[in-house]
């Protein structure tokens, strides 16, 4: 089913990457996957035909396909976020970055007047991504060079970033007509929605990047014990910086993929609260926020859960009001189910806690 389709699109070149990666996925992903499957099945039962995937004028069509498409944005965000979190950081600015990159791209295309040409569209895309990269790098600068706590460092751009985006669009909703640009969000490759293709591609690349090289391990070591890593010669500064930049870049891409179908740069609403979704996705995927070990595969599952969940609310004919309740529920269930406390009863790092003292007869 879809889970597997997306969980593992690595064109297994590096066997090692794969091995490490499946080991990481391991059982930490068990509960998230269960949750996902249950959700999908429930939808299937409530509304027959939910799980059908038909081919409609040359491309895949169906709720499941929609869900995959919806998952692309959160996944792109989550991948970057996941790496940042691995270094023990966090990036609250991704939502704003989405807005900025989209604003830049569309404003450029709008200004250029020749929106319909592929060239313009690509330049717009490139511009958006570059700006996003720069912003990511800025975050990295604050965190690594100036040593500001990630939460605050990125909070700054979370607030200011939206303002910047609105500066670019002058508060209007910039809309353009540019078929090639639109294709980024609503086009198809071999019948598969473009966003899905992009997300899968990025995912594969990043997996290669971190697991094919030693980057993954170094990220984890930095996240677990920065000082020790430094003394072991790990260039924690550069690596951390790189990761924030990457996160920004991916956020930018996410913004464009998100906004391309409508070709409207709504600076105020694009990516609003998406940083929380991204973090939620990462955590649903079994990566701990305190940094260290991380699972990219988890991000995929998390993203799918998130978008399935939002869809399920409508499918179940529930009023939109309860969507947050739903999120809360799933989040708590998955986290509790996955919590170490419950999994390994023999867990060593157990703090003192009340347990009925078993009286034992003893011959003194």
């Amino acid at each position: 089913m879809t889970g597997t389709v997306a969980t593992d699109p690595t064109p297994s070149p590096a066997d090692r990457a794969r091995r490490t990666f499946s080991r990481l996925a391991g059982h930490t992903l068990f509960w998230p996957v269960v949750a996902l499957v249950v959700l999908l099945l429930a939808c299937g039962v409530v509304s027959p035909g939910f799980l059908d995937v038909t081919v409609q004028d040359g491309h895949l069509f169906g709720q499941v396909v929609d869900i995959l498409r919806q998952s692309a944005t959160p996944l792109l965000l989550a991948i970057g976020m996941c790496l940042v979190i691995a270094t023990g950081g966090i990036d609250l600015s991704v939502g704003a970055v989405m807005a900025i990159s989209l604003a830049v791209s569309l404003t450029y295309i709008a200004e250029s007047g020749s929106g319909t040409t592929v060239g313009t569209a690509l330049t717009g895309l490139a511009l958006g991504l570059v700006v996003a990269l720069v912003i990511g790098a800025f975050n990295g600068f604050l965190v690594t060079v100036l040593g500001i706590q990630p939460f605050i460092a990125t909070l700054i751009l979370m607030i200011a970033g939206r303002g910047i985006a609105m500066l670019i669009t002058k508060g209007q909703i910039t809309t353009v007509t540019s078929p090639p640009f639109k294709a980024i969000g609503s086009g198809y490759v071999l019948g598969i929605p473009m966003p899905v293709v992009i997300a899968a591609g990025v995912f594969a690349l990043v997996v290669l990047l971190v697991r094919g090289t030693a980057l993954g391990m170094l990220l984890e070591s930095i996240g677990i014990n920065r000082e020790a890593s430094r003394l072991a010669g790990v260039k924690s500064r550069n690596i951390t910086w790189f990761v924030y930049a990457l996160c920004g870049l991916l956020a930018g891409l996410a913004g464009i993929v998100y906004g391309a179908p409508t070709m409207a740069a709504d600076a105020n609403n694009v990516g609003l609260m998406k940083e929380l979704d991204a973090i939620m996705v990462v955590v649903l995927g079994g990566t701990k926020l305190e940094g260290g070990k991380f699972s990219l595969a988890g991000c995929v599952v998390g993203a799918l859960i998130l978008s399935t969940l939002e869809r399920a609310v409508v499918i179940f004919h529930l009023p939109t009001q309860v969507t947050p309740l739903f999120k809360a529920l799933i989040l708590i269930i998955v986290c509790i189910a996955g919590s170490d406390r419950l999994r390994s009863r023999a867990g060593a790092a157990r703090r003192a806690r009340r347990t009925p003292a078993v009286p034992v007869e003893v011959a003194a």
Binding site: A153, L155, A160, I336
Partner: protein
């Protein structure tokens, strides 16, 4: 591994650290003075100093820019407005301080404020007696705090996530209670809300109202809890890193304390919710969005480390005031929506940079202190076993 056992008299191993002289050593006053010197220059206090500095800075700027010949920018009215407008934020920040000291975070407070407002409004409309309503309001907060605390402590879910879940939960419940804003007409409530002492007259008139007083009390209680009880010090200890294992092994009730911290933050959110209801006399499901970030930002501006273990309630108070003043400046400047956002971001950045500068400067000073500290006397025996 044989060794030469030469039992050394106790006195030979006397060493003084931290730059403090022996008790009762000569030149008492001077020594005391120096000791306090060291303590005030202590890394812990500097960020707070920085905050106060900024506070003054902003006031000066404001005074320079916005004073008209008829009235000066800095006047009692400004401060009373500042407190009236930010009393709820103050209470939130206090609660948040507890959580942040343990290295945790509570994202739910904004949503809880909204929920409490709605619950209060709803109950009053249903005609429930006022005291019960107020109590219920606060308890809503407490319950959410407890929920987070339990999730964090007993299911080892990270605070960020636990409180995120709580936030979603609260928002969802808000929508369930009502998606329309509910006005509060209840006589008793509005009386409480509008009760205030007037001072001065004409344009320079200023007030003290209930919210201010409540906020003040909360602050005092917090100071007492954090600095004059075992509980409070345990809270700091929990922030020492390694997930509070140290305090656990020290035999302090780490687990219980951790839960309590979130209960406190939740309760503060409950109180803040009521203050906010005083403020707006209504409940509305879209209020309090991003309020948690305001609270967190204030606490950080107040000099606390999000990694836990360092920070002060009074710092947070200063932080809230700075944050409030920034808002005033923006209002006076009449900035566009977008410039407003950029401006707040910029100020936050400047502020954090200032803090960095201070704390690095401090590190250098600390080394000096170490140098000063008396060295072991020559006769001290070596490490041999």
């Amino acid at each position: 591994m044989t060794s030469t056992q030469t039992p050394a008299p106790a006195t030979t191993s006397r060493r003084t650290k931290g730059g403090a002289p022996r008790p009762g050593s000569t030149g008492g006053i001077a020594d005391v003075a120096r000791r306090w010197g060291h303590r005030l220059a202590d890394r812990r206090f500097l960020p707070v100093a920085g905050t106060l500095l900024t506070l003054v800075l902003i006031l000066v700027i404001g005074q320079a820019r916005y004073s008209t010949d008829t009235r000066s920018f800095v006047n009692m009215r400004l401060f009373s407005n500042l407190l009236v407008d930010n009393s709820y934020l103050l209470v939130l920040a206090v609660g948040m301080t507890f959580v942040i000291l343990t290295g945790g975070i509570d994202l739910s407070v904004g949503a809880v404020v909204a929920l409490v407002g709605l619950v209060v409004a709803k109950l009053l409309i249903l005609g429930v007696p006022l005291p019960l309503v107020l109590l219920a309001g606060v308890l809503v907060g407490t319950v959410f705090g407890l929920l987070i605390g339990v999730l964090v402590q007993y299911f080892s879910i990270q605070p960020f996530i636990a409180s995120l879940a709580a936030m979603f939960l609260a928002r969802g419940l808000c929508n369930v209670v009502s998606v329309e804003s509910l006005a509060i007409e209840d006589k008793g409530f509005t009386d409480l809300a509008s009760w205030r002492l007037k001072f001065g007259h004409g344009p320079s008139i200023w007030y003290i109202n209930l919210s201010m007083i409540v906020a003040l009390v909360v602050v005092l209680v917090a100071v007492y809890l954090l600095h004059y009880t075992r509980f409070g010090r345990t809270v700091y200890g929990l922030g020492a890193g390694d997930g509070g294992q140290a305090v656990g092994l020290m035999g302090l009730r780490a687990a219980r304390t951790k839960v309590w911290v979130y209960v406190i933050s939740g309760t503060c959110a409950g109180i803040a919710g009521i203050l906010f209801a005083f403020y707006t006399r209504s409940g509305f499901n879209l209020t309090g969005i991003g309020m948690e970030l305001d609270a967190i930002a204030s606490v950080v501006i107040g000099g606390a480390m999000l990694t836990g273990g360092s920070g002060f309630v009074l710092g947070s108070v200063a932080g809230v005031l700075v944050y409030g003043l920034i808002q005033v400046l923006i209002a006076r400047e009449g900035l566009d929506s977008w410039w407003t956002k950029v401006f707040i971001g910029a100020v936050l950045l400047l502020f954090v940079l200032l803090q960095r500068a201070l704390s690095t400067g401090q590190k250098r000073r600390r080394k000096k202190n170490k140098e000063e500290s008396p060295a072991p006397p020559p006769a001290a025996a070596p490490a041999v076993s």
